[in-house]
Symmetry: C2
Subunit: 275 residues, 2 copies
């Protein structure tokens, strides 16, 4: 078996992700208690925390090594003493914030209620840390909190008695739905902040232009017009939310109901042997 590139970095990456509690600084495993030279003024934890703050406040695009360094009163290059590269820093950020999600859910009122609570928490989490949505889904980070959140979701659905391969598909669908729904809202907020133009004003400025360039819209795309014929019914949680967000909240609740009913049908089909 030939070993490919990325192996050395994987070493560093794994020990950073799984490093134990951090008494003062550095990682517990590869750090001698005393060493020559100046004292360490930073720590991996401090750097990750600062990076999360930058990303939360200014978005993933503004997350630069220089920006993180500046927040800590250092240059960009100082960070490379603690973290091998920006990619590993993002992995650490990702696994750290995943720790905010609860590991347990109340199953006493059935899986539908528990899964809905999970969805609401996860949605709120994504909107609190919208940059998480830009972390690639392709290869898992394999950090402790990533495993913990997956375990928590699996625990909610395990009681349905669905066989493992089906459960994998259901978990994927559910996770993707919440992620996608949050993405739309996060993108909209990002756009509003980046351009300084809110959704409502944006639409008011586009609408007459569309009318001019495509006056026959209603004839060419009758169903698009029909679908948007009326405002969404009020949604309890989002009375004060701006334009697009109220719409997004409505779509979220409708789509979520569809998904839950679909899971119910799947349980009926594949035999839920437990309650």
């Amino acid at each position: 078996m030939v070993l490919y590139a990325g192996q050395g970095d994987a070493q560093r990456s794994m020990s950073l992700l799984w490093r134990g509690p951090d008494p003062a600084s550095g990682s517990a495993s590869d750090r001698r208690p005393s060493r020559p030279g100046p004292k360490q003024g930073l720590s991996v934890d401090a750097i990750v925390e600062a990076a999360v703050a930058v990303a939360d406040e200014q978005g993933m695009a503004a997350l630069s090594m220089r920006a993180v360094g500046q927040r800590l009163g250092r240059t960009a290059m100082a960070l490379y003493t603690y973290v091998p590269s920006k990619a590993e820093l993002i992995d650490l950020m990702y696994d750290k914030v995943l720790g905010e999600l609860p590991a347990e859910h109340d199953l006493s009122r059935g899986w539908r209620a528990a899964l809905t609570a999970w969805a609401r928490e996860t949605r709120a989490f994504y909107l609190r840390h919208p940059w998480v949505l830009q972390v690639s889904q392709a290869r898992p980070v394999l950090g402790p909190n990533e495993f913990a959140t997956l375990e928590a979701l699996a625990r909610v659905l395990h009681g349905t008695g669905l066989p493992a391969p089906v459960l994998r598909g259901v978990i994927g669908a559910v996770a993707q739905f919440v992620r996608g729904a949050a993405q739309v809202v996060a993108d909209a907020r990002q756009a509003a902040r980046a351009t300084g133009v809110g959704d409502e004003e944006w639409w008011f400025s586009r609408s007459p232009l569309l009318e001019r360039h495509a006056p026959d819209l209603a004839r060419r795309f009758p169903l698009v017009v029909w679908i948007n014929q009326d405002d969404p019914p009020a949604v309890p949680d989002a009375d004060d939310a701006p334009y697009l967000e109220r719409d997004a909240m409505h779509n979220f609740t409708v789509g979520w109901e569809v998904l839950l009913d679909g899971i119910e049908a799947s349980i009926a089909k594949h035999g839920g042997d437990q309650r």
Copy 2:
């Protein structure tokens, strides 16, 4: 009503998106038939086509004005004669490739079959142009093909008789599911190409490290282990597909079934008055 920034660009953007057939070059509306100065060596269409080619071949990250210019034998700045900025170019790319999607679907065998055909086509489309997944969802481009694809999807589901607000939610869920499922595969391919490490080798290099740093995985996260206990059943379309992609295909079919059953339940609830 105060008009905000972005208005002037919106003008240009709209006339580029909705410009009629392109006899030789330039846009039909704001281009006089003859003009002083050197002949135009490029055209908006040629630039958009070249940009799509670059993005298809090298990914969104490699799409630079210099790269597009080079493919056309010009410098980056030459493009600015035809296109106001990179943002508008991406809008044009997006609306152009959306034109590849079919506008009609065979409804003779019911909405389930038609919607499934739609999903397969859309998934294949995303994998053909993975960069499309990185175009922001927040604010629609309002181009002709964007309307056309939405109309096509609405037409498939209109026959269910679902009321408009519910249909909006269903359309959103369906579109998000396909987009998310394609995203995972696209990200994986991108990662494999960028790092030169395939999924299988990647896992083989990570697995022993994980074992070393977290030897109690099975005890801490029993359901994560249980869920992945066995290989996914073979899926017809993806026998030759690599590792992760076969898994992704399985999840896609399972999740899709869940979604279809959920829509069925929604029709039963909200009264499908048509067939």
